[in-house]
Symmetry: C2
Subunit: 489 residues, 2 copies
């Protein structure tokens, strides 16, 4: 805990990696590209899962589970999907090992699969192959299903949470009778993601649509939420795809419509992943360690007694008991840390580093005065408060931290978002980081040129905001509206 | 829904399979041995997960996540583990596909892994390899970690939920400073499983310890809970293993004890899986379909209006609104099914088949009389009840169903459990099914002979019950106590 972090200014990438390791969020495993999510990190992910799962269910979705393995031939059934996903995959070729006196355990050459299986990089193919049996009539629609699962995309250059070979995610796969309903669903889930990002992660996001070259392989349209990290780089935090009838056609999923005619089903898919852990960290954390919005903190309030002996400790226990009860009655998660093997200073450092939103300390002087010391992690401010109505005060404080973090992140994003009109201005701006609003002629060529020359990509064409037309900063050709460029994670 | 089930007496195995399919619990996928868990089945599994997860946390455990893949060499590190698990496994040998003009997508031969990766059949090896970095001193112990995950064990003969190549489970992996603490943990988690089985699944279980030949590969002792299905076959519903220092030694996990000496860490592991879905079904369900204990039912009460027209439907909505509110205020999950595209009779059949514990029907006559019709799924009884205090009555009814199902299953088990003294009696009894209590001489030879000759295995040496010594029914050699034999799933 006492270990110093590199500051963000010194080396942002190193700061991030050290923070993830030292705050016990995750670590690299011996298996190339695969991470271990440690208990503190996993507890935050569980909070995210709980919130998202509730939102999915509130919008009519149910969970199910589909196979980990996808027959190789399935990947090839949807023409553009295969381009995107039949690449860096984990391929299962055999189903048995055997003991070998010389080499220990070896793969049994007699147990070769007739068709190789791919560890799912995403599940559209296996799910739409299954939906064929589930959907016969318009009465079976819409089918609103989500899956919580692990997926694997072989990655050579990995970063904890941001890019790993195996990661955890949810993937929604819905089936609809009409294009209109499917588009509506795509947008609804984008809104759910945006609300989750803002209300739970306290992370402002821009909703938009991807350009054709950034689209999901197999989608007609990919919607996304884009966030801006402290170092001025963008992070795609969630995507929602309108898949048209592409997968229904690839897997022969037809239904009888109300007019008794056979039609292909319309589809959406949408997902967020453990990547959100990286977004959370890079949005709020500081040179002192992790900063967590209270709604995602596994423990919201740590209470630390400062006692010289067992007698004082007993007295403090008595003193805080009603406070602990009142906090818990409000649904606030509290840890009363009376472990006498660890010193208060060690505990303070630990809770600070691991991002506990509020820490309360109580010593003998506090008992005399009817007070406690309350420290908030986000601003590092401390104040001495009367113990009267303390639970109410802490409840308000947690709300203030939650909204304060959002506001701070929003202010940062506003500062780092600006419009430019010329490509020269753009090249300067992109070096400084942030979201750059610029006119673009709508061609893949210009997009590719900008990426090649500046490493910036079009993060999205925003759904909201200024829609004044103009001229492409690169070619001068007409542009419908400014789009958002940035360098991205 | 109108499809008839084969009765249990006609063909129990077929009844089970049809029920799983027709109640929309699960189905086979195109991927050999892998099932799709459908929304209704998954919702029950989520209920199980929620209850178990709460019990794990209440006993001090936290969740984490470890890699899906295990390097092949890890499996060989613990001598007896390799015998048990390095067999029927999914083996990843390559990490890239490529397009081939002639064959579509092919495995890229240039992307062969240096060391093959095994899709985890269980995670002791990868976890103990990780724990080496986490445990230095007795202060780091105990480490009480659980993982919710998918695992793969290649199976040639599969049955939905009971035996599938991929299944979902939780696996606890704990590390302790002393043998005593590890044994205590093993027993504690066995108790948690037994409590969960009895309180949630309404399934009585016998707690016991496995014989050496039925032990987990790598364990010093395997404890288990054994349940008896309606057809007289046993089902192992959960296991808790005391692993001694075997994995600590295999993976060099040492800690400095309080006396400042280096010692190997003591371990446990314990797990239950989606197999519990099979146990649940085969404990309670009947020839009319699924029967669910209320605590695991995704929806506990279905409310069906019987209306001739929209006006009547509106009146019924008004009439039941306070009842729905009162039920929900009690935390009871209710579905008010006013979908007018489906007839009441269809809905009744659906809810009966899918195991909704209580169904309430309301027609115009009920409104006049201030009544509703309440049907309970377990006994198929119906009664007309006054709407006054209906939520209280339903709450009591749900409790009565939960305890009634347990009692019924217990009665069945008691009837089907009996002691025999001779091997001839045993051979007759085992054909009739059930738990057979018999004396055994404690040797693997006798155990193997009984299995060979009767297909019965020793389910466990019970922890409780009669401990009178006797003579082995097969060899006449001395026996410490009767053990439980049965044919098993």
């Amino acid at each position: 805990m006492a270990d110093q972090l590199r500051t963000r200014n010194e080396d942002y990438a190193q700061w991030y990696n050290d923070l993830v390791l030292k705050a016990d969020l995750a670590e690299h495993s011996d298996v190339r590209g695969c991470m271990v999510i440690k208990p503190h990190g996993y507890a935050i992910w569980e909070k995210m899962q709980g919130a998202l799962d509730g939102m999915f269910k509130a919008t009519g979705h149910v969970n199910a589970y589909f196979p980990l393995f996808i027959p190789k031939s399935y990947l090839a059934k949807e023409a553009s999907h295969v381009e995107g996903f039949a690449k860096e995959c984990a391929v299962v070729t055999h189903y048995r090992l055997k003991s070998d006196p010389e080499h220990g355990v070896v793969v049994d050459p007699d147990a070769k699969l007739e068709e190789e299986l791919i560890v799912r990089p995403t599940s559209e193919t296996i799910i739409w192959n299954t939906y064929r049996g589930w959907i016969k009539s318009y009465r079976d629609l819409p089918l609103l299903i989500n899956q919580w699962a692990n997926v694997v995309r072989w990655e050579m250059r990995t970063r904890l949470f941001l890019r790993t070979a195996e990661f955890l995610w949810q993937e929604g796969h819905t089936a609809h009778a009409t294009q209109e309903e499917a588009v509506e669903e795509t947008r609804r889930m984008l809104d759910v993601y945006a609300e989750f990002a803002e209300q739970w992660l306290a992370m402002p996001v821009i909703k938009g649509v991807k350009t054709a070259s950034e689209r999901f392989a197999g989608a007609e349209d990919t919607y996304c939420i884009e966030a801006l990290m402290q170092d001025g780089k963008a992070l795609q935090a969630g995507t929602s795809h309108f898949l048209g009838q592409n997968f229904a056609k690839a897997f022969d999923v037809l239904f009888t419509n109300k007019e008794n005619r056979q039609e292909h089903v319309w589809a959406t898919s949408w997902g967020v992943s453990t990547r959100l852990m990286g977004a959370l960290i890079m949005t709020h954390s500081d040179d002192h360690g992790l900063v967590l919005p209270p709604r995602l903190a596994p423990v919201q309030v740590a209470v630390v007694p400062i006692a010289k002996n067992g007698e004082q400790l007993d007295a403090i226990r008595e003193y805080v008991r009603p406070v602990l009860e009142a906090l818990r009655a409000k649904g606030i998660t509290v840890k009363f840390d009376d472990d006498d093997k660890k010193k208060p200073g060690w505990k303070f450092a630990e809770y600070e580093f691991k991002g506990y939103p509020v820490r309360i300390a109580i010593g003998p002087r506090d008992m005399e005065n009817g007070t406690v010391e309350v420290a908030r992690r986000d601003t590092m401010e401390k104040e001495v408060l009367s113990i009267v109505d303390l639970a109410e005060k802490v409840e308000h404080l947690l709300q203030a931290i939650q909204s304060g973090l959002y506001q701070k992140a929003l202010d940062m994003r506003e500062r780092m978002t600006r419009a430019v009109d010329t490509y020269d201005e753009f090249k300067v701006a992109i070096e400084e980081g942030g979201f750059i609003l610029a006119h673009w002629d709508g061609t893949a060529e210009t997009e590719a040129r900008v990426k090649e020359e500046t490493k910036a990509t079009i993060r999205c064409i925003p759904l909201d905001g200024d829609t004044t037309p103009g001229q492409c900063m690169v070619t001068g050709a007409p542009s419908n509206r400014r789009v958002i460029f940035a360098r991205a994670y």
